[in-house]
Symmetry: C2
Subunit: 494 residues, 2 copies
């Protein structure tokens, strides 16, 4: 979920100085329009300590007209507040139509803190989050625009940031003991944060996860996102239709760096090493799968990736190690008539394995947010809703105890073209290449955007996405086999 936000995005000082004035003008214009609108804007700025929440809120106030913004910071509740229901303190501060309220610390702070310090358990956290969703749903139903930004730092980045704040006498006061304690609790914090973001990234009020390691980058990203969301909301409201939800990434983001670009596609294995590793891992898998069968552990593997990225070959390397009675490979192509006449998840629910079995989906429910999104087969409203539906669906699987792994096979554009050409030369592979494959290539960037968003929204500790460097087929196959074995081993030892 935080993969993209750890890529270390930066904006050069000169670029920043060029971009800020333009952004400010646009923000002020949007604010001007907003003044006459019949809805309020609620901006939450949350995230890890040292992620730059304070700086960003200061900048937002500086960039916009402060007469129509109010910033609300919540610490310990006052006695006035303690004597009322929990949400009372927030209701007091909700902005009027046409106004913006920024929240540092919000209805999310308590559940997160209580959960980290184990004062509430997972079940209670779920209830809290369900109350929060209800609150946000009611506000949105009434017209409000809710913008939620989460500033992320990797563990190392957080350590570095807190150190540098501490050194500088002008900022050292900002590092509290609580911050240092949080640093110790980083892993726990991230686990809780992931659950919170996953549960509450609804279609109507999604989280934007922002790389907080460079303040110029993060402030521009948040500023641009706020601008986009307000502009779009005004547009939709004046057309009397609700905003269908918001993409996670504002343009600035993806233009700069894609998750897929960070993969080292030169990784490879020579034939000898490959053959040895293949034999080892397949033997290992065979044993593990038998144990899984005995222990009634079911597994689901999802394969997605570019055309010709090597999904089929990778799947065969797995299935060869498994008794044919114990697995099923589900090829997902266009839905049947009967499938089309159901909810789009219905056809995936059908094939959920029985206890102890393995089901491999060759393409999957992610079609909703990949091909259906890019080709327009699903409406924006449908694929936006899809993320939450998918996360929810996968949670039903993992909560039942199923091991679920999702592989994205990545190759670059040149490698794809090379493979297309090769396939056309081989008689029994020629049928695999059609006009459509070439057409899909043209929308490479759209797909890449969709993949980035998919991973950000749906990669969780329970059901992670594994990005596989696929230019070398041998490397890819071994990485997949090994990852599956490692996860299986860990799960079986639980």
């Amino acid at each position: 979920m935080f993969e993209i936000a750890e890529l270390g995005h930066t904006v050069k000082k000169s670029d920043y100085k060029k971009q800020v004035p333009e952004l400010r003008v646009k923000l002020l214009e949007a604010q001007q329009l907003l003044r006459d609108c019949d809805f309020p804007v609620i901006i939450l700025v949350s995230g890890v300590d040292g992620g730059g929440k304070g700086e960003i809120i200061n900048l937002l106030n500086e960039w916009m007209d402060p007469r129509y913004i109010r910033t609300n910071a919540f610490a310990e509740p006052s006695d006035e507040e303690r004597e009322r229901p929990r949400f009372w303190r927030y209701w007091r501060t909700f902005p009027s139509d046409g106004f913006i309220a920024i929240y540092v610390g919000s209805w999310y702070s308590d559940p997160i803190a209580l959960s980290i310090y184990e004062q509430i358990d997972d079940l209670q956290l779920k209830i809290e989050l369900s109350n929060i969703k209800q609150l946000e749903r009611e506000l949105v139903a009434d017209g409000a625009l809710i913008i939620k930004c989460w500033l992320h730092l990797s563990k190392d980045a957080q350590k570095k940031r807190l150190k540098s704040l501490e050194k500088d006498p002008e900022t050292s006061w900002r590092v509290t003991n609580k911050d240092k304690k949080h640093l110790k609790l980083y892993d726990k914090f991230i686990t809780v944060a992931e659950q919170v973001i996953k549960e509450t990234s609804t279609g109507e009020a999604p989280w934007l996860i922002v790389d907080g390691s460079d303040i110029r980058y993060s402030s521009l990203t948040v500023g641009q996102h706020v601008l986009d969301r307000i502009t779009r909301h005004i547009e939709h409201r004046s057309n009397h239709c609700p905003e269908p939800g918001a993409e996670v990434q504002p343009a600035i983001y993806v233009a700069q760096q894609s998750l897929l670009d960070t993969l080292d596609l030169t990784l490879s294995l020579d034939k000898k090493d490959y053959n040895e590793a293949l034999a080892d891992q397949q033997a290992r898998l065979g044993k593990l799968i038998r144990t899984a069968r005995e222990q009634k552990l079911s597994c689901i593997l999802v394969f997605e990736g570019w055309d010709a990225a090597g999904k089929g070959g990778s799947i065969r390397r797995i299935t060869r190690a498994v008794d044919a009675r114990n697995y099923q490979v589900i090829q997902i192509a266009a839905p049947t008539d009967e499938e089309k006449a159901h909810h789009y998840l219905w056809r995936f629910w059908r094939h959920i394995p029985r206890a102890g079995k393995l089901t491999i989906y060759d393409r999957s429910w992610y079609g909703r947010v990949l091909v259906e999104r890019v080709e327009g087969f699903a409406s924006k409203e449908e694929w936006m809703r899809g993320y939450a539906e998918i996360v929810n669906f996968e949670e039903a699987l993992t909560e039942h105890g199923i091991l679920l792994l999702k592989f994205w096979l990545h190759i670059d554009k040149d490698e794809q073209l090379k493979r297309f050409k090769e396939r056309e030369q081989i008689s029994y592979k020629r049928y695999k290449i059609t006009e459509e494959d070439y057409r899909n290539r043209e929308r490479w960037d759209d797909y890449e955007l969709a993949v980035n968003e998919m991973v950000t929204r749906t990669s969780t500790q329970q059901a992670p996405w594994i990005l596989v460097e696929g230019n070398d087929k041998r490397y890819a196959r071994i990485k997949i086999l090994k990852t599956f074995c490692d996860n299986l081993e860990e799960k079986l030892s639980d």
Copy 2:
């Protein structure tokens, strides 16, 4: 919540015989149209044992074309089912577009049973219900029509029904030991059922609560409701807008009997008894309120009722017994500009009392589902959403420990006119009567419908509606004072 379903509605055999053929024709026509629609229909028939679930499902199958209906009954899960996530068994059975699926026993059965037998606690029940809401929301978002019917019987009616089933050798097999056990657990069952219905009566998939004491009445009501919902859904889908939700009462229902008609408006007190009781109850209230203050128990009283029903006078009889520093009366009239620029609940949240204080709302958030509904100040979508929002809001209050009571002051139309005329004669009361009051009288039936629905949807054990017979002011005032005292006493002794 079940008040209306205990009025003992009946339909005469001759009326039934006249109405059924017409209903059948219309149901078949609707089903014919449905065949070409791009959505499925899911009908849940739940409720108390002996409430006639089986009979009604048989009738629905008989009345409609069985080729396009499938009935799903769920008992103990099979091993196939147990080996998959819990909802898998339901996903398997979801109907295709154009088809109807009827469920006896559904995703509600387990949570209810587990909760009654205390195998899950309140928190776990909430999680289950939140998963159910998520499931239903996803189906509805995809276009599905979900119709949920709850067949209710009072404790006595259930006892009678089970006895008569047991006596008849043709039906005795239908009374299981489980049923008899349930009878013992009736109170517990009703408490759980109320929570389930309250939590899951969403705008998109509300429950219809049906009086199950007369099978002719209940089957006609359910049949009519199914017809209405399908017809309306087809209409809305063909206009490409989602159905805004469904009223609880189909027409047949209200035409027959209103909750307000059951009140005995001849109840009265003579002056002497009144004076004595007033002195007693006010003294009692004074003491109780002081204890409440010490124990930091806050109270909220809501007063709604017909114009001139005596809200103001009743409120004054309470406040006279309370130290002026400890209570506030909030008069709710048209919202201020600032209030209008917020969510409609904002102006009620503002006035939530501090610990140990009493707040009385003279008219309240119920305006949303009364005057705003009837006069069209709120859109249908808004007031339909209002029930869930109100229930949620009140839950935040009662969960915080606040004592919340809601009074509906009822008078009949003649009494109202009499009081209008009287007020016009008294100089200092003349200002209270305006053109508007006469206009409101004309919409009496619409208001009565709205009141019935309001009580059904929002009267809960935690925050009950108390219907007050108001033709005699003295009787009404004492009933209110006494009810408040009784509840306060009980709450303080907890």
